[in-house]
């Protein structure tokens, strides 16, 4: 409708009460240095003017005088496209503690974040601040007098797991030699490649999703853990390829190469084959992602700058969407077998190859298919609490399957087939969501996982990622990450020191290692992971206990 010209002001403006974060600015503390407005990644705050006009009176009779003052203020804008994301960079740079965003639990953000019919896209993970199932599990079987408790500080531990298919003894081509059982290397039986790795893996975060210093910092930390501390931690590449310098280095063996439906960067990988001095730790075939099941990878154009365009082999500044599925897939059997075989061939069947799927009710069908495929090295399942660099909010918040019962069902299926020691299951999605990294990993292992994979936790712990389940920040998709973690803008990512990231990664793994021992030692485990040792687990919630087949305690 035609407005009375120039007279419309706030008719369709949202009140700040609808916004998820409300800026608390203190006039009395602010010295108007502008650091907050300079640093705000979304321009949610702007310098503006305020008019004070007071009609006063002095003396014994009404004797009015008007004072009028115009002062500068810092103001939050009411534009939903520039909503405050709560990152608190303003507070970080403010020299006077004059400004901070405050979470508004009564916000109506999702009612409005659909302008121009654009469904809300973001980074991060499911916005659900309640504790996950994993965080509701307790370790209740504490050995004291019943069987020897181990001392986490004193005993030597061997916290390792196997990535790769383990042949049962009866299938191994064994022969006696000088009174010893040895593997018959001349046998025609295929012995699948197996890696002994640390049971916490770093999940797939692509070059592209992450900034160069973030990715390189993690990679360097992984190399340090392996070479300086002897912890065989492996890291998956994500689907954005890998820089040739790493492909051709000796560090390559600590990395899992991911191939996803977009096949980004694979020409560089294939071209590097002749120059590789090491095999990769494994190959992960991505079929799904916990954060956005049924959606392919998505790298928003803001992040597709020079580096990404060259590594991925794509034009600059285009949205890079991977299809939700591998395009040449016609059936489970055909697709999985074909992909596993192709990837195995690339490295002469010397490298474990496994698919990764999102948590789903159909996970068991996939698992049972893999159980029959002699080349399948593992199954990785990524639950609903997994993170991502970019996805539709609805996919993140509402799509997917929690990891706990998914892993449990799969493991018990293997048990039924007697194959629980043959095909490792890797669990991911919300591991360490509330900071309880080791406890979540231990719980998953005791539910049946051979290893757990972490992503978001790593970003939070190593690079101070601000994201949380109150939708704080979650700017990953926009390329405006204020920490420099998920951006390709040098002005932002040069804030991040890759050495610090590496150092923090090492801290994280060392501390988690101690905590895992603190969990496993009282349960009497030191040399074998308690995979599937569900009698050590309990839940304080009867439904959860029943579903997971563990005891209920209260």
């Amino acid at each position: 409708m035609e407005p009375v010209k120039g007279k419309l002001d706030v008719n369709h403006e949202l009140t700040l009460k609808e916004f998820p974060y409300i800026i608390q600015w203190r006039d009395d503390r602010c010295k108007r240095c502008g650091q907050c407005t300079a640093v705000c990644p979304v321009k949610a705050i702007v310098p503006d003017l305020r008019v004070d006009r007071v009609a006063g009176s002095e003396g014994p009779i009404p004797n009015p005088s008007v004072t009028r003052r115009v002062t500068q203020i810092v103001k939050q804008v009411h534009d939903i496209d520039r909503y405050c994301v709560g990152c608190a960079m303003c507070s970080l740079v403010c020299p006077n503690e004059a400004i901070t965003p405050e979470f508004n639990p009564n916000h109506k953000f999702l009612f409005y974040k659909n302008r121009a019919g654009d469904a809300y896209k973001r980074g991060g993970r499911r916005n659900d601040p309640t504790p996950s199932t994993l965080d509701q599990l307790k370790f209740t079987r504490i050995s004291m007098l019943t069987d020897p408790a181990l001392d986490a500080g004193r005993h030597e531990f061997h916290l390792r797991t196997f990535l790769g298919r383990i042949l049962p003894p009866e299938s191994m081509p064994l022969k006696a030699e000088n009174g010893m059982l040895v593997v018959d290397k001349n046998s025609d039986i295929f012995i699948p490649p197996v890696r002994e790795i640390y049971p916490i893996m770093i999940g797939s975060m692509s070059v592209g999703a992450l900034s160069p210093p973030m990715w390189e910092g993690l990679a360097m930390g992984v190399a340090y853990l392996n070479e300086e501390l002897g912890m065989p931690v492996v890291m998956a590449s994500g689907e954005g390829g890998m820089p040739p310098r790493l492909l051709k280095s000796r560090f390559f063996k600590y990395f899992i190469l991911q191939i996803a439906s977009g096949y980004f960067g694979w020409d560089e990988i294939v071209r590097a084959l002749p120059d590789m001095v090491e095999d990769p730790a494994a190959i992960e075939i991505k079929y799904g992602q916990g954060a956005k099941p049924g959606d392919g990878g998505l790298l928003m154009s803001y992040k597709v700058l020079k580096l990404i365009s060259e590594i991925r082999g794509v034009p600059m500044r285009v949205d890079l969407a991977s299809p939700p599925t591998h395009q040449t897939k016609y059936s489970i059997e055909e697709a999985v077998a074909k992909m596993i075989q192709s990837m195995s061939m690339a490295w002469g069947f010397r490298v474990p190859v496994y698919p990764k799927i999102s948590g789903t009710k159909t996970a068991r069908a996939v698992l049972n298919n893999l159980a029959r495929n002699p080349y399948a090295a593992a199954l990785s399942i990524d639950g609903e609490d997994g993170g991502t660099g970019a996805a539709y909010n609805v996919s993140m918040d509402k799509m997917g399957h929690p990891i706990a019962s998914n892993i449990r069902e799969c493991y018990l299926d293997l048990v039924k087939q007697g194959k629980q020691n043959e095909l490792p299951i890797i669990a991911a999605g919300g591991v360490g969501k509330k900071g309880n990294l080791a406890a979540n990993v231990a719980a998953l292992i005791m539910l049946g996982a051979s290893a757990a994979s972490i992503g978001k936790y790593v970003m939070q712990a190593t690079a101070d990622c601000l994201g949380d389940e109150n939708n704080r920040c979650n700017l990953c998709n926009t390329g405006r990450c204020p920490r420099g973690i998920t951006t390709q803008d040098p002005k932002l990512y040069r804030r991040l020191d890759s050495e610090k990231v590496a150092e923090r990664l090492v801290d994280v793994f060392k501390a988690a290692d101690v905590e895992l021992k603190k969990i496993f030692a009282p349960m009497g485990r030191s040399t074998e992971l308690p995979i599937g040792m569900s009698d050590g687990l309990s839940a304080g919630n009867e439904e959860i206990a029943r579903k997971l087949g563990i005891s209920y305690v209260c």
């Binding site: 108007r32 240095c33 305020r50 115009v70 970080l92 190399a223 820089p243 020079k306």
Partner: protein, 790 residues
Amino acid sequence: MSAKEKTHKEEKIINGKIDGQRVSSRVLEERIQNAIKEGARELYVIADGQHGIGGRIWPRGDHHNGTVHVKVEGPVGQRLGSMGMEGTEIIVHGSASDDVGWINCGSRITVLGDVTNGAHNAAAQGVLYVQGGAGARCDTLTKHNPRFAPPQSWYFRNVGDSFAEFKAGGISVICGVDPRNPDNILGYRPCVGMVGGVVYFRGPIRGYSAGDVRLAELTDEDWAWLTENMRPYLEAIDRKDYYRELTKNRNDWKKLVAHTPAEKNALKKKARTFSDFRVSAWDKEVGEGGIFAPYLDHERSLLPYITTGTERRNKPVWANGKYNPPCAYNCPTHIPTHKRTALIRQGKFVEALDLALEYSPLPATVCGQVCPNPCMQACTRGLYIDKPVDISALGALSLSLKAPKPAKKTGHKIAVIGGGPGGLSAAWQLALKGHTVDLYEEAAKLGGKLELCIPRERLPQAVLRKELERFQEIGVKVNLKNKIDNKKFEKIYKDHEAVIVACGAHAPRMIPFEGSADAAISAYDFLKGINAEKAPVLKKKHVVVIGAGNVGMDAACEAWRLGAESVTAVDVQKPAAFGKEMDAAAALGTKILWPKVTEKYDKKEKTIYFKDGSSLEASLVIVAIGETPITGFLPETIDRVKGSWVRVDETGRTTDPKVFAIGDATKPGLVTHAIGAGREVALRLHSELMHYDYMSEVTTPIPYGRVKTAYYERCVTETGEPEKDAARCLSCGSCRDCHMCENVCYWGAISRIEKPDGQFEYIVDADKCIGCGFCAGVCPCGIREMIENI
């Protein structure tokens, strides 16, 4: 107590068997304690596997002091001498079982054989002499209470695994003589968690908990202590002859001592630094600069969150004049009022008025009289504060201005057809640029509809005449009474480099309803007749105006003036009239009815009927639904649209590149539209003739939100005086030189410079600016713009 037991002054024998039956540990303990109470100080215990023998003894009974000697024979149970106390000396003739000397608090225990696991566990004082070797976890958790001497544990052969775990104090000596494990006399992983005390040892070992202890040579002090205390030990275990061998060479001995907290911290730091790892491991393997180096073209250093210069994320730009103020943008002639008010503020009043003549030959006539002033309707001040700047008054003041001097003759020759506002405007601009202009007008006077149709009430003739006189001063060759037909056009076309058609719209549109011929007259003819002093008499007559636009309102006003009894304007849709015309007609009592679709006029009844069944009395029906241009004189090569309107592109050019058309000849509009179009076409033509690129002054209007109205108080005084009004102007999009940005900048990045041409600019020192946007946020005029710093 058994009667069989007799007390000797020297020795009390306590047998672990009574009548061939083993007594329990409880009973044996009871007997020992009773014996002590009874004064026994020499005990001879013949054990049979009882536990805890010889512990917790302090002299009691008749003799409250004295040393208690306990000689033990036979198979000994666990925890011999546990919680042993000072003054107790135990000698075991043979080996002892686990936990010998557990929590020893001062007893001296000699085992003339081996000890099994856990010997001296948690001992805090006292001495343990072992003639043989020891099992696992010996000397663990030993303490040293500073009030007492530290505990000592001496082992002649070797000790088992996990030795001295969590040792917090005390001295352990492992002599390494004839060890049962010759490769490793301290067992697997000794000293885990050890925080105090010392372990002296002699012989090969296989590692120790390096995070807790360090290996060291013996000091003089150590050696003195060891050689001195070795003697009583060897004596006690009956191995005196080994003294020489065990003390012959200090270098045979080593010690393990706990790291101090400082050493532990240093040890943590000894881990390879990440920068060292990066340089000497990572970069060395993957290449200088890391894995992404081949792709990155920026410096590999860290940036702070607040940056300056090229590292800023955003930067301010001085967008002075980049945007049009709403007045200039919305004025179809684009008269820059903001520049005029700025000149007035500088005291340059005449220059301010003169500026209007650069845009229009008729500022007093149009801005000051007939124009509805879209400039004022759009004025930020009017919309957001109080009342608009009175631009109309400024226009009226331009009446007395002298004609500007035309530029030097260019030799180019241009024809303008039509002497109405559009034609006058085009001719004015071209002539001022030095071109030769031939203007052709059909009527006897210049002015077009201003002269012919606009009621004199609204436009005093004196004003128009004066401005037309000024027009005539600049040398345009005016050909009046010169009706153009095809032939004449052809000649004009041939004789000139370009032709501008500004013939206006002079064919009134009529509605063919029943009876229209009897009473209907077009507003055009009606008004034209009045201006030509051929007005009809309307006294006591009822007048109906069909078409309630502004021309309809003019006609209504004139009808009232001619004495009409009533005037009613009807329209088929919401009336388009607005502004002064509307107000004037309403003030005189004009009724406006809509929607009314005319059906017929009944001459007899003097009534006009509408299709909704209603009717009005009407002696005269004035049809004011517009006029169309008469363009039959143009050749076929020039396209017309919707009948006679001349088709032009956005530059005003017709389908003949040499011919332009403007104003009502192309589409209906206001006088100011025609003047604006005339100027635009003239300047564009001029740039073509002079071979330079035409740059329109019209850009985009400044968004109202950019202008900071907060600075301005609502006016309490009357407006209208140009000097005061100039101060009221917000100077939208055009710097008012107030120094606000310079003052607000915390970083001192903004300064004002004057340029050689007298212009000024507020410049930003990039090395100081952090891109906070305060300058943009406070600029009263919206000059500062923040842009991404790419």
